[in-house]
Amino acid sequence: MEKMRISKEEVAHVAHLARLEFGAEEVEKFTTQLNDILLYMDKLGEVDTVGVEPVTHAIARKNAFRDDKVGVSLPPEVSLANAPGGRGGCFLVPKVIE
């Protein structure tokens, strides 16, 4: 294998942050796949970017605003329609400890 861009530990850590659970085999597989992707992305490093300002967007547009005017909200029963549980207009979730 070529140089590693991402370790198994990092894959496991990011999986945890995303609340995903993987078996050892899957971690192995994703590590290989992610490394392949990242190595491919290295091609971008071959482009000469001297004097080019970094951008965060692919389009050149700036300042897309809306006015501070109240629009229509959803009826709460519609907002809650896909929720696994609800009570008194609220979403019901497993207890969160603070």
């Binding site: 850590h13 942050l17 609340r19 965060t56 967007h57 389009i59 547009r61 700036k62 300042n63 897309a64 605003f65 809306r66 006015d67 501070d68 005017k69 109240v70 629009g71 229509v72 909200s73 959803l74 009826p75 709460p76 907002s79 809650l80 549980g85 009570r87 008194g88 207009g89 609220c90 979403f91 019901l92 979730v93 497993p94 207890k95 969160v96 400890i97 603070e98």
Partner: protein, 476 residues
């Protein structure tokens, strides 16, 4: 060893816009759960957030009021974490390119003036509200607050004591309410403060390990929590221990800070630029327009009051504590042309009545014009200062103008010289012995005549006029 506290504050302020930051849902507090939600603030797939222009304007207002440098271009980033009050799984905030940086505000502390630096101000969205069921293992989520606009104001670690922390917070609170972008309600959570506290040996350059304090919903609690945390860390260090870097919650009842449970893992938010929101460009013209609309700031107002109205620094401080009170006072001054006397009445009786009922000056039953009219009645000699005390109380209770109260209660001071002289002549005629004594040099007897005159006129005579007339008449 002597330790020096190093404190920085992070403030989150809800902006007084009508709608949320990225959608048209109402941002109003107190609606029934989830009635202010839509696909955008619920984080449904495929929706696009669009920035509320007013949020940028309000952020610029605060940036100007705190002497920040405003960057030409800024953008939004996603702060990723999972929590049920955050439907998208990320909060839209600003990270690498904040819109405003390098500001400061000035505090007046015992040793003089001190500047506290402001590292940055940025815009972001609020999260929803979580309520915990006491009996069942469930929590309830209301997403009305999700997407309500906030600005975060981060101070430099320039604060050195709990008192300074409270003074900084007060000054910032005063400023944000003055510029009209936040209602400043700490109890309802529209103005929230977290504190970073660490200790270092006095004279050292390097910062010690800091803790982050949360859950302080009043000025007093911020001061108490910081005070407690300084003592706690000092104890830990002096007994040879190490301060753990952690988030601690202030427990108001127990008066202590406690480590927060549950968030065992260090924050790893994986910020990245939000591809859904285009960069924001703020040009000079926009900044100038907003600068032109800014009201006079508290400190400038204070200095102007001292200069123009010749009142003390203390009085100017009291009278500019809110924009509404300062406006009230200035209206009384404009209509009475008596800045010093107006200051005494506003700070004395009017504020006392309001404080007793925990009312704001905007709810004051005495209109500035009425108070000014009363001051004119005193100045013109129609009523005495003593009568005015009664009049102002009746004005507060009834909301009636002073002339009406004076008439109703028959409080008009007797200023008719001829009538008063007749009354005084009668008194003098009835008390020849006292007249004799006075003329023999026993000046104390003068008080006796004043007393008799007040009695005869039921306290309605102008005391100065009585004095003048009596002196003349007794001289014989």
């Amino acid at each position: 060893m002597e330790f020096e506290p190093v404190i920085g504050l992070e403030i989150h302020a809800q902006l007084l816009t009508d709608t949320k930051i990225f959608c048209g849902c109402s941002a109003k507090f107190g609606a029934a759960p989830n009635t202010h939600t839509c696909p955008i603030c619920l984080g449904m797939p495929g929706v696009l957030p669009v920035l509320n222009r007013k949020v940028v304007e309000y952020m610029i207002r605060m940036a100007l009021a705190t002497h920040c440098r405003i960057n030409t271009e800024c953008n939004f980033a996603r702060k990723n974490y999972f929590y049920p009050d955050l439907p998208k799984g990320y909060q839209i905030s600003q990270y690498a390119h904040p819109p405003a940086e390098h500001g400061w505000i000035e505090l007046e502390i015992n040793s003089g003036k001190k500047r506290i630096g402001i590292t940055r101000i940025h815009m972001e969205e609020d999260a929803g509200k979580l309520m915990h069921d006491e009996r069942n293992p469930v929590s309830l989520v209301d997403l009305n607050r999700t997407g309500v606009p906030l600005i975060e104001i981060v101070s430099e670690p320039d604060i050195r004591s709990a008192e300074e922390a409270a003074a900084y917070l007060r000054r910032l609170h005063e400023t944000i309410v003055y510029v009209g972008i936040c209602d400043g309600n700490m109890e309802e959570g529209s103005f929230r403060c977290d504190a970073n506290v660490s200790l270092r040996p006095k004279g050292a350059e390097k910062f010690g390990t800091r803790t982050e304090l949360k859950n302080m919903n009043s000025f007093r609690n911020v001061q108490r929590a910081v005070e407690y945390e300084i003592k706690r860390q000092q104890y830990v260090l002096e007994s040879g221990g190490v301060v753990a870097q952690e988030t601690r919650l202030w427990d108001d009842t127990a008066g202590v800070t406690q480590p927060m449970r549950g968030k065992e893992e260090a924050h790893d938010y994986r910020y990245f630029p939000d591809p859904d929101l285009v960069p924001v460009v703020i040009d000079e013209a926009w900044i100038d327009e907003i600068r032109g609309s800014l009201p006079e700031l508290p400190l400038e107002k204070r200095e102007r009051f001292m200069r123009d109205y010749l009142i003390s620094s203390y009085d100017a401080g009291v009278l500019t504590v809110s924009r509404a009170l300062a406006d009230y006072y200035e209206e009384v001054v404009r209509l009475s042309d008596q800045p010093k006397i107006a200051a005494n009445w506003v700070m004395g009786d009017v504020l006392r009545f309001l404080n007793e009922e925990k009312k704001d000056v905007r709810e004051c039953p005495i209109a500035p014009a009425s108070l000014a009219a009363m001051i004119r009645l005193i100045q013109g000699g129609t009523i005495s200062g003593k009568m005015a005390k009664e009049v102002v109380e009746a004005m507060y209770k009834t909301g009636k103008p002073p002339e009406e109260i004076v008439k109703e209660q028959g409080l008009v001071q007797i200023t008719d010289e001829v009538a008063l002289a007749r009354t005084l002549a009668e008194i003098i005629g009835k008390n020849p012995a006292q007249v004799e004594q006075y003329r023999a040099g026993k000046e104390k007897v003068f008080g006796f005549f004043v007393g008799q005159a007040m009695k005869a006129t039921q306290g309605k005579a102008n005391p100065q006029l009585i004095n003048d007339l009596l002196k003349k008449m007794l001289a014989g």
